[in-house]
Amino acid sequence: MPYDVLMPQLGMAQDSAVIVSWLKAPGDAVVADDPLIEVETDKATMEIPAGRDGFLTQIRAAVGVEVPVGDVIAIISESADDFVTMPAAGEAHATPAMLSEPASNTSVSAKTATAAWQPPVQNDTSTASVTVSAKPVRPAKKMGVAERVLASPKARLAVADRGLDLNALVRQGAEQPIHFCDLDQFSTSSGSGLSVLSAQAEGETFAGLLTQQADPIATRRRVLSAFACGALRMAAGWSDRPIMVESSNLGDIREYLKNPDLTGVSAGRATGDVDLFEVDLTLFDLTETRLKEYRPAMGHMIQVSVATDTHGGFSLCLSFCSDVLSVTVAADFLNNFAMRIEDPIRHIL
């Protein structure tokens, strides 16, 4: 029976070797202990014995070729008649295994690379596999060290649980790092630390305009968004700056409008398309409800709620951080927003 001479493993961390020279020619008689071939690894050049008595009948790897450990490099047969001519040099490495990726010359440790030896796939390896959640990881909003409020993990968790804002605590005078016990001292005494302004506006003209619309409720919300955006742009002096408005009814409706004061009152985008961190202004449209105002407990954004009173007028309530908006700008903004509602035609045009 013919015997396959395989590329031997010559070192502990070696997965291939280069053929340096054949010491026997096809057709030669060989003895098991006779050197058959000279190979070179990263460490040394060495002679490999034939391993069997017989005749070298086939050479399967040419000089200079790097052959993976375990691949057949020659065949020794009992009879010289099984002699097969050596393939041309270019075809020498034409066995499937030898066509695979050439081994890298750089040595790689077994811990970082796929080892030469691998166990066959087990019937069940599920317990060892790592389950990776399909849920995308949302990149955290980047903040400089200076901006980050220092707080213990326990304090931070409690702040989130109670819907508070660490920044607000700092504005209220909490010393950093904030510890758990600091929360009671500040959060109960003066609310969230957001400033609040409220205003009233007549609604007769606005209501009259809306009756001509196909979808008066949605139109009202979008026009209010446009008015708020325009008022903010004017008050804050953001003439060149894009402004993203989030509008919500605190229920099933939430949409995003970019520069609605400049682009008209077409429908906004749905939640999934928008990076929430882009939002500059949130408008809570309470006009279809009996709710009067909404003051969120936290948030870095400018947040304004709009409600209608029993006489058809509008109640506006603005919550804002004083480090985002000065009181002067906030007052200007809310006042201008109210004026636009009272005199809509001038502003739509």
């Binding site: 220092l150 213990s152 993990p153 326990k154 304090a155 931070r156 968790l157 790092p177 510890h179 758990f180």
Partner: protein, 331 residues
């Protein structure tokens, strides 16, 4: 209940187990007539004879190796390593042989042996007779590591160790051999991997091993005077470690200091602190602190040596800083 010394408690544990089980033998340097330099084994050779209480040559690796082979073949040897510092001499037999035999043999061979040795500085014994090297062995899978904090603990843990079918190493603090504590006359065992809460508290958890339990207890008294309620936990064994008890406590108090007499770097304090940080992170209201021996060889001069080990004052100072939120090195 009677009060006996830690030395006497260990002696009783050995004698009781040797009476119960004729395969238990004791071997080491000067364990027979001399009864060890700390007189822990005095009287045992008179009762059990030189076949079971064996004075060995000064060949720590050799007789530890003998104990491994004896344990594999039917004896339950207790090996006395006179000073914990000599652990470095027996590392191959302990860590390459004893600890790995059960695993390497796929569960066929077992090594039920106990190494009893000591630890602890401030005995003016200098750098080669003062080390606390338990972290070195606790790092190696396959060995259990017990650290008694009193006479009561020493007896109960020793008896459990002798009955355990795994290699166990017990570190006794050599400064505590003459410390007395109440120890019951009747037999008892202390299970491994079950921490002991010595004092309940609500403000800060002090996890302490061996003689550092006394340090933590003293600190807790001082803290109580200042209105701080400290909980003191003795893990008793660091391998296995009763993580559950420690984490439950820290989740309650939200602050922790870990105190151990091994060198602070890469040590037991670091391991326990890391587990708290990993598994109780969102409950922490202050950075977890480590108090270990200074990272210096133990100096001889009393003026220097006393600086190297944690004291109750150190613990109090750190605890108060944690309470006041003053640990600004963590910012």
């Amino acid at each position: 209940m009677r009060n006996i010394t830690l030395s006497k408690a260990v002696n009783e544990a050995l004698a009781e187990e040797m009476r119960l089980d004729s395969t238990v033998i004791l071997m080491g340097e000067d364990v027979a007539e001399a009864g060890t330099p700390f007189k822990v084994t005095s009287g045992l050779v008179e009762e059990f004879g030189t076949t079971r209480v064996i004075d060995t040559p000064i060949s720590e690796p050799g007789f530890t190796g003998l104990a491994v082979g004896a344990a594999m073949t039917g004896l339950r040897p207790v090996v006395d390593i006179m000073f914990g510092d000599f652990l470095f001499l027996i590392m191959d037999q302990l860590c390459n042989q004893a600890a790995k035999t059960h695993y390497m043999s796929g569960g066929k061979l077992t090594v039920p042996m106990v190494v009893r040795t000591n630890m602890g500085a401030t005995r003016r014994s200098a750098a080669q007779h003062s080390q606390s090297l338990h972290a070195l062995v606790a790092h190696i899978p396959g060995i259990k590591v017990a650290m008694p904090s009193s006479a009561y603990e020493a007896k109960g843990l020793m008896k459990t160790a002798i009955r355990d079918n795994n290699p166990v190493i017990i570190f006794e603090d050599k400064l505590m051999y003459q410390d007395k504590a109440p120890v019951p006359e009747q037999e008892y065992l202390i299970p491994f991997g079950a921490a002991h809460i010595l004092r309940e508290g609500s403000d800060i958890t002090l996890v302490a091993t061996s003689s550092m339990v006394q340090v933590a207890q003293a600190a807790a008294l001082h803290l109580a005077e200042q209105g701080v309620s400290a909980e003191v936990i003795d893990p008793r064994t660091i391998a296995p470690l009763d993580e559950e008890t420690i984490l439950t406590s820290v989740k309650k108090t939200s602050r922790a200091i870990v105190i151990d007499e091994g060198h602070q770097s890469y040590g037991v304090t670091a391991e326990i602190a890391a587990r708290i940080a990993e598994k109780a992170f969102y409950h922490l209201d202050a950075p977890v602190q480590r108090l270990g021996a200074m990272d210096v060889p133990i100096p001889f001069s009393p003026a220097l040596e006393d600086l190297t080990v944690p004291t109750p004052d150190d613990v109090v100072a750190r605890a108060l800083m944690a309470m006041r939120g003053e640990l600004f090195h963590a910012l």
